[in-house]
Amino acid sequence: MKVSFKLNGSPVELDVPPNEILLDTLRFRLGVRGPKRGCERAECGTCTVLLDGKPVYSCNIFTVQVDGSEVNTIEGIAQKELGKELAESFSREGAVQCGFCTPGFITTSYALVKENPNASELEIKKYLEGNLCRCTGYKKIVEAVKKVISAYRK
């Protein structure tokens, strides 16, 4: 099936079988390796991408569903000012350990800062509920987002 969408700002046109999931299209067909495969069951958040600005699990959506949409992955987000600030804050605050969940966390965080620049600590935690981290215990992740959000508000 013909599918066209905008990936990190650039148009993409593909012919994919209807049963192909977005994560596989990104990783195997397009070589976009930022979104990770942690469970492939919409249970962990490592594959998070933005679909028309909203975070979604790319492991749980058919590629044909994103036809005509805008998809942003960590690769695109990292090019943007806010994305860079988040990445730097995560790195500086010790919010990254193994790093496998990190692209997903930054992707979700990017959307949350855009969505709610007044998010409280509890709201930040709530937005991040769908991203599991097994290394950090979440404290430093929440702190890293808080630092960026308070700067972003100003």
Partner: protein, 776 residues
């Protein structure tokens, strides 16, 4: 350099008081590329020309394999072959401590999920489809799932050749426990149970093997010890170790699990690559990962302790049963560690401890952060609270009365001459937590929601035990441009030792700017540095690069002294500036010093090696030298219990650690926070449910419940007690596992405090809380 010279120089650096990068909140070298999504993990290296491997696993807990039929699988387009035990060219033997475990089941299977064959195909879908079509014919055998039952039965044997389901026994015999109990004012006895725990590293096991023309293999391996993978692969393939090159890329978490399963994952990839002469790729699905790889042991611990009227411990008698599942794997070592730590960090004059590692037809046990210690510390720490209650003493006081201090003797008879900061850690944490006030306030709470506060104290021997040879090695090379290349076998799996502490240690000693130090880690090309486990990544793993840097620094000091016309002792090198202490006007840039070394014939490469001196251990009595050094950890935790629903919320924890010199405080905090939350999972929600056939039912992240951001408690800034360890780099000990060890006991003690009933079974599910409240 002679060993006395080396010891003198190590002592010099050990007593260092001023640092320019060590002890500072320095950003890690790897985290920015991880945050930007640039860092590559195993699957990111997959290429479409690689053959894909899918495991066919056992559906039976115990059965003879009659035949394996791949005729239907052959019809799948893209199917290449089905590889079984028969195809293994070397030894089909991967047992870690006992040769009891095949890579692929041969003759019989011993747990649901055991790998039986490897389907090889050109693409993922073909591999998945073909694996479904491989028909294994089994003759089911009687099986045993409960370890207490398995211990007693000889009619159903997981391994016939052993004649018993007891895989391994351990013991400690110190003093006379009968006498100790008779001198006790109170004696309490309880049975404690803990459940299996899965690591849930977010990256499942995956590996790539690439053969070359000469039949040698390069393996990308998800392992915590590249040289162990090299050894296991060479055994399975019957090739010399030098034919196997192992590279460990960034790992998406390890926690011990990849120490066990990493080499086996790679052995599967390597086996297929060797047989097909093509690059191969294997990745476990999440369900497969949970079904196949070893878990934290489930335990039953019977614990009897006695204390005099003042609360001084007189005796303990402990029986530890570990459900090791189908294979011993590291079970004997895990049990050994549990046994030697059974007292908790306390002085106990009379001790009798017996450990049993029991085979059952379930998924086997293996390494997991804490390694047998969280469960036994849970039992020991619960007993301390029970004793305190019986004696009417505050739980903090009874601990302080018995706690290990420098010069104390452990239950194995080891004298702890130095680096024992647990008492200070406990006192400081109690003060910070407001222990006395809160303990009192919460004791009088009534109504539906009740708060509790509990203490968990733990000790943990660093690195490998007893006389097991233990060493550290690493190479440091100063490049002509002044940058420094460091080569170590320690891997990066999230803990960050090569990318933070190793860099800081090398930079501090050489005096070179931190950003000029580059650590190349996790490959069998590096000197064998030992495994990245047992909290040894820095405290032991970095001794090699520490020693190499010290040697280089001596050479550079001599050279600089000549160039600046002074004595070597007068030279300081800090952040790239070489200077005379007496006459600071005499100085030169680091890069010039390096250029001079190259032009004046001073070697700029050094290979550091250190063999840890160890003592004797008598296995008959369980007495002697157990560990080179111990780290200590305290967590004081507050919870709130809903007595109607039985739910527990962890509100806050106050950690304190005595782990010697803290090289990077941010990273140590990160280890403590992460380990605490992982321990909270063990304490509250993480548990496997087994079917009647011993199959794990909850093989996904919906029904195997780990904490989310919404579950994470508040964690106070940790207190550091820097009780330096004489061989560690600048006195560093280990940190990685530490907070996980007392976390469950502090939570269990807090819950017990809140509800006024003793928790003896982890995880503390709402159902168990309600049962306790109902007095059942």
């Amino acid at each position: 350099m002679s060993s006395t010279d080396l010891e003198r120089l190590m002592n010099k650096w050990l007593s260092a008081q001023e640092f320019y990068v060590v002890g500072k909140k320095v950003e890690r070298a790897d985290t920015i590329e991880k945050a930007l999504g640039i860092a590559r993990y195993m699957e990111d290296y997959y290429m479409r020309d690689m053959l894909v491997i899918k495991q066919v696993t056992s559906k039976y807990p115990h059965a003879r394999i009659l035949s394996i039929d791949d005729s239907q699988a052959k019809k799948v387009k893209g199917f290449l072959m089905n590889i079984t035990a028969k195809n293994i060219p070397g030894e089909n033997q991967v047992g870690y401590s006992i040769p009891d475990q095949p890579l692929l089941a041969d003759k019989k299977v011993r747990y649901v999920g055991e790998p039986v064959s490897l389907v090889v195909a050109s693409d993922f879908d073909s591999a998945l489809e073909a694996a479904q079509l491989v028909k294994v014919n089994y003759d089911p055998l009687p099986y045993v799932l409960d370890p207490l039952e398995a211990m007693k039965r000889n009619d159903v044997l997981v391994h016939e050749e052993t004649g018993s389901n007891i895989a391994f026994r351990t013991k400690v015999r110190k003093g006379d426990v009968e006498k100790g109990f008779s001198e006790s004012h109170v004696v309490v006895e309880n049975t404690y149970r803990t459940s299996h725990q899965d690591h849930i590293y977010l990256e499942t096991e995956a590996s790539i093997a690439i053969p070359n023309l000469e039949g040698k293999l390069t393996i990308l391996s998800p392992s915590q010890y590249p040289h162990l993978t090299q050894k296991i692969v060479s055994r399975v393939l019957g090739l010399p170790a030098s034919s196997i090159r192992v590279v460990v890329p960034y790992l998406g978490g390890g926690f011990g699990g990849k120490d066990d399963q990493g080499p086996l994952t790679s052995a599967k990839a390597a086996l297929v690559a060797y047989l097909t002469k093509r690059p191969t790729f294997i990745e476990y699905s999440r369900e497969e990962s949970i079904a196949v790889h070893p878990k934290r042991e489930a335990t039953v611990i019977r614990y009897k302790s006695g204390a005099d009227a003042e609360g001084k411990l007189k005796a303990i008698e402990v029986e530890i049963v570990h459900d090791t599942g189908a294979y011993a794997n590291r079970g004997p070592f895990i049990l050994w560690r549990a046994t030697m730590h059974a007292s908790g960090p306390y002085v106990v004059p009379n001790a009798k401890v017996d450990g049993y590692c029991i085979y059952t037809n379930k998924v086997y046990q293996g390494s997991f952060r804490g390694f047998g210690n969280p469960s036994v510390q849970f039992a020991a720490e619960s007993q301390m609270d029970v004793l305190a209650e019986k004696l009417g003493i505050d739980p903090l006081e009874i601990r302080l009365k018995n706690i290990l201090t420098p010069g104390a003797t452990t239950i194995t008879g080891q004298v702890l001459d130095s680096s024992v900061g647990v008492k200070e850690a406990l006192e400081a944490a109690a003060l910070k937590a407001g222990w006395k006030e809160k303990r009192k306030a919460y004791s009088s709470m009534e109504g539906r929601f009740r708060k509790g506060i509990g203490i968990g104290v733990a000790w943990h021997g660093i690195s490998t035990s007893r006389g097991v040879p233990d060493w550290s090695a690493g190479t440091v090379k100063i490049e002509l441009d002044g940058s420094v290349s460091v080569l170590v076998g320690i891997v990066e799996m999230g803990q960050g030792s090569p990318t933070s502490s190793h860099r800081q240690i090398v930079a501090e000693i050489l005096g070179v700017p931190l950003d000029l130090v580059h650590v190349y880690f996790g490959t069998s090309d590096a000197p064998d540095t030992g495994a990245t486990h047992a909290s040894r990544g820095t405290g032991v793993g970095a001794i090699g690069v520490y020693v190499a840097s010290i040697e280089l620094r001596e050479r550079l000091n001599s050279l600089a002294a000549k160039l600046l016309n002074t004595d070597p002792e007068d030279i300081t090198i800090v952040d790239g500036v070489v200077r005379s202490k007496k006459d600071p006007s005499k100085s030169m840039p680091w890069k010039d010093l390096v250029k001079s070394a190259y032009s004046k014939g001073v070697s700029t490469t050094s290979s550091g090696y250190f063999f840890l001196p160890k003592g004797r251990f008598d296995d008959e009595m369980g007495q002697g030298f157990a560990y080179i050094s111990y780290s200590y950890m305290v967590t004081i935790t507050e919870v709130e219990v809903d007595t109607e629903l039985g739910t527990v919320k962890v509100l806050k924890t106050y950690p304190a650690i005595a782990a010697g010199k803290i090289i990077n405080p941010v990273q140590v905090e990160g280890q403590i926070e992460g380990a605490f939350v992982q321990g909270m999972g063990l304490a509250l929600t993480e548990e496997f449910k087994f079917s009647e056939k011993g199959e794990i039912i909850n093989k996904d992240l919906t029904d195997y419940v780990i904490p989310t951001s919404m579950d994470a408690p508040e964690i106070a800034e940790p207190i550091f007690i820097e009780d330096r360890f004489k061989y560690g780099p600048f006195g560093a000990k280990g940190v990685g596992e530490m907070a996980l060890i007392p976390a469950p006991s502090s939570i269990a003690n807090a819950v017990s405090h809140a509800i006024g009933k003793r928790v003896t079974h982890l995880p503390i599910t709402p159902e168990r809380v309600l049962k306790l409240l109902e007095g059942r």
